[in-house]
């Protein structure tokens, strides 16, 4: 977690990349939004984990520990690769197939590397993204981020808590 925070603090990024709280992981940082999670999982976490557990790192207590962490890293990177492939601007048969293969690998090995984790509905739903990619093509055309943003703008509009009443003439509300 320290390495991830170090990256969030020190990495040079363009201004369009959604900012992530410096205290990521703390209760005080609050809940991340879906777009922020995408940034964390496709930018900060993979760079941090590979720098710690990848081939370059040689600071593990034993070779067995190094091997185990490398397997956990490979498992995590299967999910990261699946997310990157699913979010690409263009899609192709090979990319869709690779997405499915990475997702199968990640889900099938989840209990091996993380025995305490329970399967959730989201794991099943992620397989349907493959079907949607085939049906509707690149995910950026049909993902829900624009609608999430619109809902956020509507929620921030001033209102008088009275359904159907105008906020322009509150004296009539």
């Amino acid at each position: 977690m320290t390495r991830i925070r170090e990256l969030i603090r020190d990495m040079a990024t363009p201004s369009w990349l959604p900012p992530v709280p410096y205290n990521f992981g703390d209760a005080a940082a609050g809940t991340l939004k879906a777009d922020e999670w995408r940034t964390v999982t496709t930018v900060y976490i993979p760079i941090a984990l590979i720098s710690l557990w990848g081939g370059r790192a040689a600071s593990h207590a034993s070779q067995a520990t190094a091997n185990r962490l490398k397997m956990v890293l490979d498992h995590t990177m299967a999910l990261v690769s699946a997310i990157i492939l699913a979010c690409m601007r263009t899609t192709a048969e090979t990319r869709m197939t690779e997405y499915l293969n990475y997702l199968r690998t990640w889900v099938s090995e989840l209990k091996i590397h993380h025995p305490d984790v329970e399967y959730r509905v989201n794991h099943h739903m992620a397989f349907h993204i493959y079907d949607f990619l085939r049906l509707f093509r690149p995910v950026r055309s049909w993902w829900c981020f624009p609608f999430e943003r619109l809902i956020g703008q509507l929620q921030r509009l001033p209102h008088n808590h009275k359904h159907g009443m105008s906020i322009v003439f509150p004296m009539f509300g």
Binding site: D10, A12, R56
Partner: protein
């Protein structure tokens, strides 16, 4: 209040006229910066153009050029590194040849020619030594690679349409950086400016 509003309107109309004196047009640039959300692509005024700096003469052809801090293409803003390091990091195709792999580099200067053509002067991120083990190559779909911390001494002239995207850079140690090529989400899709 109405009178001051009318006077401001008349001044604005006068500044927009073709026969407006040159020194008043210079004032308009300042007014625009102060009172409206100006575009970073506004044309530089005539006084902004000057002789090509000595250190750039071997890259820039022509006699006059204006240097600016940032430039936008679509909804993406590119900056020189002294203005915003993150916005200056770009992966580009040398010579516009898209069959070659993109090269990461940092924009040092943004130059505007008198005909409004814009070029970026970029220093390349130096590749890591061949003997170095790069742990990031194990993951072909994660576009991060190791480079050295240094930038090339030479400048590349890069046109805006030769750029693939921005990249993120993190110093993994004193000598090396991790370079991750990013894919931007278009703001017209990620936000709806309807209010």
């Amino acid at each position: 209040m109405t009178l001051s509003y009318l006077k401001a309107g008349q001044l604005k109309q006068w500044l927009g006229r073709q026969d407006c004196p040159a020194f008043l047009r210079e004032c308009k640039v300042i007014f625009d910066k102060a009172f409206r959300k100006s575009s970073v692509n506004d044309c530089p005024t005539a006084s902004a153009f000057g002789p090509v700096p000595e250190g750039l003469k071997h890259v820039i052809c022509g006699t006059k050029v204006a240097l600016r801090a940032r430039h936008s293409v679509g909804d993406i803003v590119y900056s020189r590194c002294s203005t915003h390091v993150g916005n200056s990091l770009v992966a580009f195709y040398p010579g516009g040849n898209r069959s070659s792999p993109p090269i990461p580099g940092s924009i040092q200067h943004i130059a505007v020619y008198p005909n409004q053509d814009v070029v970026y002067l970029v220093k390349r991120q130096m590749p890591a030594s061949p003997g170095l083990v790069d742990p990031y190559v194990d993951y072909p779909h994660f576009p991060a690679r190791l480079y050295t911390n240094a930038l090339s001494p030479d400048l590349d002239l890069v046109r805006p349409d030769w750029i693939l995207s921005h990249y993120a850079r993190w110093a993994i140690d004193n000598d090396h950086v991790v370079v991750l090529i990013l894919s931007c989400v278009s703001r017209c899709l990620s936000s709806l400016d309807i209010f």
